[in-house]
């Protein structure tokens, strides 16, 4: 857990670098910071249009655009954070070799920056829920309050994976490409586009093997079905989060000394 302790010690730097990442991304663009709102808004508009006029929406999850929106936003966080983490040492190599910043800062920044994007987009999700509630198509309740806890556990799991991928990517040139491919595959194997219930009974066990599955089931419970997350899902999420963090930290610690040299 030493990487975690170092991240905590340098948390001010992690936050400052994450903020810089956001600021630099939108600096010089006309909409500036509003891009972080505009992106999910556009995404929502696309889903609403496509599933109203082009594809038949799933009958079991209506309004389907709302169902999709939450899942896709959060999946966007997971995949972008892991993709960033897998190349963070390549991108930040000079910084790593020229300053005394601890290397674990960089995967943490990747996760923190992408998490900030997600959090900035949540008001759009809230507005979409409110709109559907106003139309009478959704009935939000206190179950929404489970969302921060689900996101926290998910972030812990993503940080663990980020530590793992970032340190492996330093030694293995193909980690970045593998990550991109696996993420594309995982997008369809994770209940993002469909509810977990839609998976045939005999594949449910298999779905359990996907570490992301419980997070997305829980997410849908919190912001779409507005019902309590099942106890087994809580247990799975905590187990996955702790396990990934431990595994990521251990691998990172093992490879840590050579990161600055090899990056």
């Amino acid at each position: 857990m030493q990487p975690l302790a170092r991240i905590f010690r340098q948390r001010a730097l992690v936050l400052a670098l994450a903020r810089r990442e956001l600021a630099a991304r939108y600096r010089g663009s006309a909409l500036g910071f509003f891009w972080s709102l505009a992106n999910p808004l556009l995404l929502l508009a696309v889903y609403a249009t496509v599933f109203r006029y082009v594809f038949a929406p799933r009958a079991d999850v209506r309004p389907y655009a709302l169902f999709l929106f939450g899942g896709v936003l959060v999946w966007g966080f997971v995949s972008a954070a892991l993709a960033d983490a897998s190349e963070t040492f390549r991108v930040n190599g000079p910084l790593l070799r020229k300053t005394t910043a601890a290397p674990e800062v960089f995967p943490a920044v990747a996760v923190a920056a992408r998490l900030s994007h997600l959090v900035l987009a949540l008001p759009v999700l809230a507005a979409a829920i409110a709109y559907e509630a106003f139309r009478g198509a959704a009935a939000p309740g206190p179950a929404v309050l489970q969302l921060p806890v689900v996101l926290l556990l998910l972030s812990v799991a993503v940080l663990g994976l980020a530590l793992l991928l970032s340190s492996l990517a330093v030694h293995f040139g193909d980690v970045r490409d593998l990550t991109a491919n696996i993420l594309t595959l995982a997008f369809f194997l994770t209940p993002v586009l469909y509810p977990a219930e839609a998976v045939p009974e005999r594949f449910r066990g298999l779905l359990r093997l996907n570490p992301f599955a419980p997070f997305f089931s829980a997410l849908h419970d919190a912001v779409f079905f507005f019902r309590p997350v099942a106890g087994s899902d809580w247990a799975w999420m905590m187990g996955v989060a702790v396990l990934l963090l431990l595994a990521g930290s251990a691998v990172f610690e093992r490879l840590r000394d050579s990161i600055a040299e090899e990056a």
């Binding site: 340098q10 001010a12 730097l13 400052a16 600096r27 193909d174």
Partner: protein, 422 residues
């Protein structure tokens, strides 16, 4: 002794993975069985070999050496960025590393935001940054540009900001890697003042530079790294002198390895570059003679020697001066004399002739020297000026710092006693 920096038998090997590629693939590692084997080095490149030294509090240590000699590796080890393969390093107190000025500055965001991040990167807390902010900005002189993105800064401004930040991070040990070369003269002086301030405050400085005069002037002590080993550790002027000699000797060896040996008793008839003049008279050849009057390429320090030039006047001249100048290969002027300075008054010079300057003792320090030979008018306008017309080597039993190797004796009074001579 209470050392600020202690380096104890440190060796650093750079590891190279994979036979063909420097980066292996995870796929192949998984296929061949992931484990220690996949991460074991195929070969190792030594960057530092058994390096030991200490730096006392308040001491400035210069580190010099050729590119690839391990200087930057040493700083990265001291900064904790790299780990030594074997041996121990210890730094006592807060450390700031200036390995690149403005490292970590992001071009798209403002100087203000960059200063905060740069400060955090140097290990300052937010509060410390806030407290020192105005002083840093004033030292860098970038007040008006503070809220502009750093990409709009001139390189000089970015450098000043980077140095100001590091200088105000109040370290106990400051590592500096070749960064002052980029600033203008005035800023370099302020940097040097800041370094002096550090020293007075008992802070230590490890300073890597190719600017040898600066190292000699700024640091009392210097180490010379040669292919990863400490070749010399001592007073900076002596370290610099030894390093220069070695570079010159190496250059000479390479030249001798070429087909056109320059270290020889006689100069070539024409060496077009470095030769200027009207051509009214010409220096045909230049040579060094030993005490017996025989041409020589090497001369022992302290022995008699003579410089001789064969000359020819194309038309009779009544205004002429013969001169020789000697410098070290690195360009330090050692000696220059001509017939005019030595009080000879020209009358007539026509056709072939020779001019010889005899010296009863060649009191040069061991090393390699370059000779310029010239014939010119009294007002200095050259008939033929040949730069680097000849190179010769002065040999000696013992090294000496500087270029002068006078005959000398040590004498002592009082309670000083010496063991029998080595």
């Amino acid at each position: 002794m209470n050392a600020a920096v202690r380096v104890d038998h440190v060796t650093k090997l750079y590891r190279r993975y994979g036979r063909k590629k420097s980066v292996g693939s995870l796929k192949s590692a998984l296929l061949s069985g992931l484990g220690a084997r996949a991460l074991s080095p195929d070969d190792a490149v030594p960057a530092l070999v058994d390096v030991s030294f200490t730096v006392a509090p308040g001491e400035s240590l210069g580190v010099i050496g050729a590119n690839g000699s391990g200087k930057s590796t040493l700083l990265k080890l001291l900064a904790g960025i790299f780990r030594p393969t074997s041996g121990q390093l210890a730094v006592d107190g807060r450390l700031a590393a200036l390995l690149e000025l403005g490292a970590g500055f992001h071009p798209e965001i403002s100087g203000r935001e960059n200063l905060e991040i740069g400060g955090l990167l140097l290990g300052l807390t937010r509060r410390e940054i806030a407290e020192r902010f105005d002083a840093i900005v004033a030292f860098a002189g970038v007040e008006e540009f503070l809220d502009a993105p750093v990409k709009t800064y001139s390189s000089g401004m970015a450098v000043r900001l980077g140095f100001a930040l590091a200088a105000h991070s109040d370290p106990d040990v400051l590592l500096v890697d070749e960064v002052l070369a980029v600033g203008d003269e005035a800023f370099s002086h302020r940097c040097l003042e800041k370094f002096a301030e550090f020293e007075r405050a008992g802070k230590s400085l490890v300073f890597v530079s190719h600017d040898l005069p600066l190292v000699a002037q700024r640091c009392r002590r210097a180490i010379w790294l040669d292919r990863g080993r400490v070749a010399f550790d001592g007073p900076s002027s002596e370290t610099v002198a030894r390093y220069r000699e070695s570079v010159a000797a190496e250059e000479e060896r390479q030249r001798l390895g070429d087909r056109s040996p320059r270290l020889r008793a006689e100069g070539p008839p024409v060496s077009v570059p470095g030769r200027v003049g009207s051509g009214a008279a010409s220096v045909e050849s230049v040579r060094l003679l030993d005490g017996a009057g025989k041409p020589a390429a090497r001369i022992a320090s302290g022995q008699p020697a003579a410089l001789e030039m064969e000359v020819r006047a194309e038309r009779p001249l009544s205004d002429f001066v013969f001169g020789f100048a000697i410098q070290t290969v690195s360009g330090v002027a050692v000696f220059g004399a001509n017939t005019d300075l030595d009080g000879l008054v020209a009358e007539d010079f026509g056709g072939p002739a020779s001019a010889r300057l005899e010296m009863p003792a060649c009191a040069l320090a061991p090393g390699i020297y370059s000779v310029d030979a010239a014939i010119h008018a009294r007002d200095g306008s050259p008939y033929d000026y040949r730069r680097d017309a000849l190179r010769f080597e002065v040999t000696g039993d013992r090294p000496v710092a500087g270029v002068w190797n006078p005959p000398r004796t040590w004498r002592f009074g009082g309670g000083v006693r010496w063991k029998p001579a080595r």
